[in-house]
Amino acid sequence: MLIWIIFAVMTGAAVFSLLWPLSRSGMTAFADVADATSLYRAQLGEIERDLARRLIAPTEAEAARAEAARRLLRASGEQADPAGETESSLRRRRASSALALSCVPLLALLVYGAYGSPGQPDQPLAARLQADPSQQDFALALTRIETHLANNPSDGKGWSVIAPVYLRQGRYDEAANAFASAIRHGATSSETVAGLGEARTLAAGGVVTAAARESLVEAVRLDPSNARARFFLAIGKEQDGDVQGAIAALRTLLADAAADAPWSMTVRQRLARLEAEASGGDLAALPPAEQQVAVRAMVDGLAERLKAGGGTLPEWTRLIRSQTVLGDKSAARTALATARERLSQDAAALAALDALAVELALRETAP
């Protein structure tokens, strides 16, 4: 309401400033000729002054005087403008006043109405920051923590607060970094380490990579009952093709948990799907074409995961074998080469890979 009063006062002042000169009576006609003649008169005066100060020579002064006088004559020869009649001038004033009274408020309201937000108060940052934290909008709180962490990057607790937020927002890489920073600066709870595992998994598109597995195993070591870590480890098993192992892991997870754990529903669904796949829904039961597609999808998933990093000898062996069976020799060779690189520290594994290459006739391109 106050704002509309202020607007009204402003409008009033603006309109008043326009009406004011109209209200003044006085000379209604111009005496413009006086302007020109006064200029030339002033010029003549100045020539005299210059002459007195010996700035110009008498002959120059004479010539200048002649010129000014010529112009003065010409200017005063012009007729003065006729004065306006009172009657029509009154009409004109009324029309002008009407224009000012209508045009100014109307245009202002029209334009402001289209673009303004009269109901919205100012929101200076300082005031927003001082507001009660529970009243603060979420983004602002997040920014505050971020600013704090940018200035105090060794605050492990701060990192462990912000990391799950990133995770929920789907900013997995940032979440992984934040969890890693938290762990580096002392916040090594099982939950944080498991969070790192989850963030790494989600950052890799849902694939439990070797790095993720490392964190998850560490989390379970710190707290054997850590459900999050155990769930993702089970998914890792499933991704490795160890469906039975995954089922067993999920079953024990459910058995250990309280019946009303908030995550138990997710686990049960996952378990149900796995059990369906493992029993009746076995690959063999599918028609050949679909079977082929399903197998290929599994193999591709494995390849994707191993490409992202890590991988043990059995995993690589399984991948290379599957790819050869599917007839994709070039992919198998690429996988073999990558496996060699990854496992180059492990002499026994290299020997096993060589043997595999011989067995599958991938030998010719191997170094």
């Binding site: 402003m10 000379m27 111009f30 120059e60 200017a75 002008s96 224009l99 940052l125």
Partner: protein, 661 residues
């Protein structure tokens, strides 16, 4: 609430400006003084409203009110206060508001200068100015509204373009806008004269201070922009013939011509129609510059956000004001009373020569700037018109003008004496030639034209000084006489001499760039790089943290020969909010010369690419521009009445070599 008050004030200003552009015009047409008087109070009210609006935006920026879209998009909470302030006009919407603020400020100043302006002229001028204000207010409110709100407010802003986070932004745009917008007043004066059908020495006298004011600011603005580009863009160039620069150069050239032609009009009552046309063209070129920069026809630091709707709107403004005023000119100009004729060899004749050359130079820049744009629009072909074109067209036009400048300057009004003028300048010319020859001898094998450029610059400086000396120093008179004559000499004469000497200084600085050298090397701490007279030794490379950026700062020792200068730092910054890098050149001023260090990419092994430039006498370019503006400012303070008096030849009148200015 402050934001909304500012927004409403801007909307109110639009209504007031509409009244300002209609009622006074009616008053002029009907000879009604009361109606004409509305113009003054409307102009003042309009200025106060826009000032309130601008203040509201400034407050929003300072308080980081991110609920204002414009603030959120162009500032950041960690910015230092000064950049929060400059961010106000470091973007399209805010800069338009600044533009309108200056526009209305000029209107208010005209309204307040009651004593020096005839009523009719003032009313007509304010009406024309009101129309320009309406157009730009509507443009700002409808297409570039700086007060748009966004809810919920973002947590933090997106920061200002890092290149603009510099003190240059505090200075360059306001100066430039005062220049551009100042010419809107001369335009308004011209339109008022055309509508009124009367143009005389009174008009010229009224217009002169506004033209000078605009010109002084435009000169400073362009010079500041050039220096900013020189130190911020990191490769040591100071003028690129970039369309945006040309957009400011064209009004400057036209304005320079205008200053000279108004002098003729004021003193000799001649060149009236041409002066009116120049006044119209100058502002038209300013508008054209605005269109080129803001419409998205090109992309550059200046173009900010581009939006076709804005381009169309500005094009409409351009067509209305340029087309309208030229149509008015075609209709009314033949009705104006022509001024007297004059002899070709005279000061007014020399000023016509000035106008012809400058107009030609302006036309070459116009063609070089617009031809590629038009060609691209019509055929889609992209051509680049760069420095070679301008060097081949602009400079050959300008050099003869500069060569005859000292002659014109020393010529008398009405009846000049070419031989006498040549004699008076013979000493300056001889000295300049001597310097040029000496320079050629000293730099044998170097650039050919540069020594001639130096000679030209020296001729201009000496010509200005000698002309001044000749007016002050008389034969057989003591120091007191000289002093009193110096005091008596009109300030406009001092201003002329100063401005012309400034041109000479800039010419010297520009010519000397031919000797600048560049050295490139990959340095590790302790290693050295030499270019021209300077050698730098890399001391260290260190990371540093600023308020809203992180930087790598390299510290150099710098030697000129065996003399060690104060160490200098050059850096690269990454602005965190926009993740954008900028180069911070390290510049060490050594007399009038500079050593300029720009960092390249780090090479990984602790080494970094470094470019070192030796820029001899480079500061003269900008010092010259500042001297020019000082000359203009000095001339501005001279409010004497001017009337041309022919100067008798020195032999007939040994005492008087003093013209009445």
């Amino acid at each position: 609430m402050i934001v909304e008050i500012g927004h409403f004030a801007l909307a109110l200003a639009l209504g007031v400006a509409v009244v300002q552009s209609v009622v006074p015009l009616w008053g002029v047409a009907r000879h009604d003084r009361a109606l004409a008087g509305v113009g003054s109070s409307a102009a003042i009210a309009c200025f106060l409203l826009v000032a309130l609006s601008f203040a509201a935006l400034v407050v929003s920026y300072v308080r980081s009110d991110f609920s204002v879209e414009n603030v959120a998009a162009n500032s950041h909470s960690t910015q230092p206060l000064i950049y929060k302030l400059t961010s106000v006009w470091g973007n399209h919407e805010g800069s338009m508001l600044l533009w309108v603020l200056i526009l209305t400020l000029f209107g208010a100043l005209v309204a307040l200068s009651r004593r020096s302006l005839p009523v009719r002229l003032r009313a007509g001028t304010l009406a024309a100015q009101g129309m320009v204000t309406v157009a730009f207010l509507a443009f700002t409110l409808l297409t570039s509204n700086p007060f748009r709100r966004v809810f919920p407010a973002p947590a933090d802003g997106q920061d200002l373009n890092p290149i603009l986070q510099d003190l240059g932004l505090a200075i360059h745009p306001p100066l430039l806008y005062v220049g551009y917008v100042g010419f809107s007043i001369t335009y308004a004066f011209a339109v008022a004269a055309l509508i009124d059908g009367r143009i005389d020495a009174v008009w010229a006298r009224a217009v002169r201070p506004w033209t000078l004011l605009a010109w002084v600011f435009l000169t400073l603005g362009i010079a500041m922009g050039s220096y900013w580009a020189y130190y911020e863009l990191g490769w040591g160039g100071w003028w690129f013939w970039d369309p945006v620069e040309n957009a400011s150069l064209m009004p400057w050239l036209a304005g320079t011509a205008l200053i000279h032609s108004t002098v003729v009009m004021e003193k000799r009552d001649a060149l009236k129609v041409w002066t009116i046309l120049l006044a119209i063209l100058t502002f038209s070129l300013s508008l054209l510059g605005t269109f080129i920069v803001r419409s998205g026809v090109l992309t550059s630091v200046h173009s900010f956000a581009t939006d076709p709707a804005r381009g169309l709107f500005i094009l409409m403004i351009l067509v209305f004001f340029v087309g309208g005023s030229l149509a008015l000119f075609a209709w009314r100009a033949p009705l104006l009373r022509q001024g007297g004729l004059f002899a070709p060899v005279s000061r007014e004749g020399a000023l016509v020569v000035n106008n012809v050359f400058i107009a030609t130079a302006c036309a070459t820049v116009f063609i070089g700037t617009l031809y590629p744009l038009v060609l691209e629009m019509v055929t889609g072909a992209k051509i680049s018109v760069g420095p070679p074109f301008f060097n081949a067209t602009f400079i050959p036009v300008l050099v003869p003008l500069l060569l005859v400048l000292p002659l014109g300057q020393s010529m008398a009004w009405k009846r000049g004496d070419l031989l006498g003028a040549a004699q008076r300048n013979a000493a300056a010319f001889g000295l300049a030639l001597l310097v040029a020859l000496a320079t050629i001898a000293m730099t044998w094998g170097g650039p050919v034209l540069a020594p001639l450029g130096i000679g030209l610059g020296i001729f201009l400086v000496l010509g200005a000084l000698f002309d001044l000396g000749e007016r002050i120093v008389t034969r057989a008179s003591g120091w007191s006489a000289v002093l009193s004559r110096a005091k008596g000499l009109p300030r406009s004469a001092w201003g002329t001499a100063l401005a012309h000497a400034g041109v000479g200084l800039s010419v010297i600085g520009i010519a000397a760039t031919a000797w600048s050298t560049e050295g490139i090397g990959v340095l590790k701490p302790g290693e050295r790089l030499t270019s021209g007279r300077y050698t730098v030794v890399l001391e260290s490379i260190q990371p540093r943290k600023g308020p809203n950026f992180t930087a790598e700062v390299a510290r150099f020792q710098i030697f000129s020969g065996s003399r060690e200068l104060a160490p200098v730092e050059a850096g690269k910054r990454i602005y965190t909010a926009r993740a954008m890098p900028t180069t911070e050149a390290g510049i060490r001023t050594d007399g009038l010369s500079q050593a300029y260090i720009a960092l390249g990419e780090p090479q990984g092994d602790g080494a970094i690419a470094v470019r070192l430039y030796d820029k001899p006498l480079i500061l003269l370019i900008w010092i010259g521009a500042i001297v020019m503006s000082l000359g203009g400012a000095l001339s501005l303070t001279d409010r004497r009445f001017r009337l041309a008096a022919p100067r008798r030849s020195a032999t007939a009148q040994p005492v008087a070599v003093q013209p009445a200015e």
